[in-house]
Symmetry: C2
Subunit: 495 residues, 2 copies
């Protein structure tokens, strides 16, 4: 992965920039010391590290506005950062750019049960929102694995998902409003505690824009009443193929489980060794299906799901009896990442999505790739929505092995696109998948996305190097025409 | 409502334009005869009429692409049109512009139960999608009153809603993918049968963009399994205030009914006279609450809802016993528009949204406005989501009465915004509410929306005069700065 060469001119002006930032953010909010900067050198994509020019930690929207206006007028790049748990490198710093951390925006501003929403600052963690309303019988539905640490602002930037998004939607389906500062320093408020408000849906395009369009300074999210009951059925299969057919059958029957997770044999073994959940070790795949809603509905659907599972050759069935057992069945899956982390010095978490019926074919091809690369892979899937998370095991200390793992990962993602799927499910593009965008989008699509980026950030200063493999010069966009499906950018370097 | 003066230069070139269009769309797809053009002179906003320059009815995406490219290169404006049922004038023609009708795009292309979606051409009616999958136990959730006639492409353009959108979402929540042609003729495909695909969410911003960003030539929508049971409870109240408190109580209890509709006394009287639904004539407000899901859940929730209703002073209760009675209870509400149409030579359908708890205050103020304007108003509401549809009764043959009705309507919408609501719920802005955009959005918001418009249609040829009160010159956008919250456009006429 090539990154752009830093701009020495900006680096030479570091002293001026620090002084300007200290004029805006008083006290300890401007970090310049190398030891302290190291804390910010990477996000959850640990393979890439870069010290930022400086880190600024504002506390108010007005400070964010002044910081961005200064950077806009002085040609300084800005990388917004939430909790730094992102897995695609969206918050990877730039040597010639400010990292703008939103960690001090950590307050819940309003809990509004009547309109069923919570207004929060972007640095509040995902889980804190549920915790704030839990006692009243409500929760915030999107539940990324990192929910104890990840920030709600970062969730919006990455359009984060989670295990219950099959039924309850991604962040974009649970977001009502944002306050956002544009690179020019202008503050806009998008959405509200209401339906469609007329005009162009800026909030829709901002969700999942990975920090390229603006800096979010407030969010309003929808909360839901907790389901009155939930039960889990564990299903064991003699082949992943049979598990895939079971997923097909459940969805085809019109059932939308609260969650439907699948894992393959290597993942099962790792999890069961780490935390005893009662997973069978003699099966090729396990499906965890959670049904939620009124008790009688859940009981009825459990019977239907069991019937479908037996029809496709399921060999083992266990239904949770009570809340403790339900939690126990989930415990293994919830610890997928630390479990697999014990199998290997390093692992890479991939994130791609495929049409559900392609699951058996993709698993077969992935096993072949694993053989030919000589790298092990353990699979956990959000099976209900076709979102795969292959975990590629490698050892970064062996020369060339990280590059090999990256090539393997890229092949998996290309395979996802090839069978009609897409590059991402919930982790975003960032730097991780940036150079694969051309495998998924046509030139027209990317030019159109670039035009949109330019409409928000005409100088290309906000999180450059992420998402798009080619950085367009916005001033030239007006003159662009795609000819014969090719981009007319021979002189713009891919970096 | 001032409309822009037509460009005589374009009108003078009509012959050339017709010839060019006939070169692209063979046969009867180019309409030039005045009598035939009259069919297209308005959409559902009957108060505004304008003959288009010509009408073109293409049959393929390639034809749409060639038409738009020609218009882009030759400075010809284009107004896209679906079934022409829109209520905000989004498809109002231009004297110097082509009306591009999508009526021949009328095929369902694919029914995919496994991925729970339908792929259709944009001219397919909303109801046809449900009809195509009904026998298999599925349906398409958004259900505008015009669903028998309105097109799915138009639904996307307006982000259409309906009575069941409280629980199942607007069009934007049920749309998976679109194929769209940009004004330059480029064809882009957005979304897919999958989750988040990475990159900027162009589909989010296109939904509800009222034909200003591109022409949709294919849609993929989500279908849902039909609820296993549904029952309706009719609740009568001695005051609208009590009805409003009942809505509050139901939502506050964490119950999301399939639909929750309210109507006031004038609306009740009109409906019951038109079709006998068993509505009480001695109440001030009726609430229709539909609960759907498993039978036992529905029965349980009916009891809870009844209890809440009695607590706030409900005077009459009736629960549907069987499917026939459920339909009968709905029949009155379903015929709201024709019913009210019999009360008055003309009526104007308004569409605004308010925070639910403001309902009593808004109703009181609306009654005062009705008195002071001397115009009657009947109210139907999607009460659950705060979406009001006041129907203003007037007689267009009385000089000045239409203008008075318009002023009354504008006051109602300003009132919605004033109490924390918004200009629209599901009908869009179009020409109807265009000049009120400044009451809702700040200058920054509108400039940002204009930038986005320019990113899609740099020459401003696609449906100009709709949505935005000021048409920005895109070439100048780069130089714009908002100063002191004011737009620097003294020389650009409001039209």
């Amino acid at each position: 992965m090539k990154m752009p060469l830093p701009d020495d001119g900006v680096i030479a002006r570091r002293g001026d920039i620090v002084a300007a930032m200290r004029g805006i953010v008083p006290g300890e909010g401007v970090i310049v010391d190398e030891e302290e900067l190291k804390v910010f050198e990477c996000d959850g994509l640990l393979a890439y590290r870069q010290l930022p020019l400086i880190v600024v930690l504002p506390e108010t929207t007005e400070q964010v506005s002044r910081i961005l206006r200064y950077c806009h007028e002085n040609g300084v790049k800005v990388v917004p950062r939430g909790a730094g748990t992102g897995l695609s490198g969206g918050a990877l710093p730039l040597a010639d750019g400010i990292t703008l951390g939103l960690g001090k925006f950590n307050k819940i501003l309003e809990i509004d049960f009547y309109n069923r929403c919570v207004v929060a600052q972007p640095g509040v963690t995902n889980l804190s929102i549920t915790s704030a309303v839990d006692g009243d019988g409500y929760y915030y539905a999107p539940d990324p694995s990192s929910r104890i640490a990840c920030s709600i602002g970062g969730n919006v930037a990455e359009n984060a998902g989670g295990m219950h998004c099959l039924k309850y939607g991604l962040t974009t389906n649970n977001l009502l409003a944002v306050e956002m500062v544009l690179m020019s320093g202008e503050v806009v408020r998008l959405g509200g505690k209401h339906l469609d408000s007329g005009g162009l849906d800026l909030m829709g395009v901002v969700t999942g824009s990975e920090g390229l369009l603006g800096v979010i300074t407030e969010v309003t999210v929808r909360i839901l009443p907790k389901p009155t009951s939930a039960r889990v059925v564990l299903l064991g299969f003699p082949s992943s193929n049979a598990g895939g057919r079971c997923v097909a059958g459940i969805i085809g029957a019109g059932i939308i489980p609260g969650a439907m997770e699948m894992m393959d044999k290597p993942a099962i073994a790792a999890m069961e060794q780490f935390v005893s959940s009662g997973y069978w070790l003699d099966v090729e795949a396990i499906l965890i299906v959670e049904l939620d809603g009124p008790e009688v509905e859940v009981d009825h659907l459990l019977g239907v799901v069991e019937g479908i599972a037996r029809d496709v050759g399921c060999s083992h069935v266990r239904v949770s009896e009570g809340e403790d057992e339900r939690r126990q069945f989930w415990a293994g899956r919830m610890s997928a990442f630390p479990s697999v982390g014990r199998l290997s010095p390093d692992y890479m978490t991939m994130d791609g999505t495929i049409p559900r019926h392609q699951l058996p074919a993709v698993l077969t091809r992935m096993a072949q790739l694993s053989d030919s690369y000589g790298l092990r892979v353990a699979n956990v899937f959000h099976a209900g929505d076709g979102n795969l998370h292959p975990l590629i095991l490698y050892d970064a200390n062996r020369p060339g092995e990280m590059e090999k793992a990256e090539a393997f990962g890229a092949d998996i993602l290309r395979l996802c696109v090839e069978v009609g799927g897409v590059l991402s499910g919930e982790h975003g593009i960032g730097v991780e998948k940036r150079d694969l965008m051309g495998d998924m989008f046509t030139d027209q699509d990317m030019v159109q996305q670039s035009r949109l980026k330019c409409a928000f950030d005409g100088h290309g200063l906000l999180n450059p190097g992420k998402v798009f493999p080619i950085l367009h010069r916005c001033a030239e966009m007006g003159k662009l025409n795609v000819r014969d499906g090719r981009l007319p950018f021979p002189d713009i370097p891919r970096f």
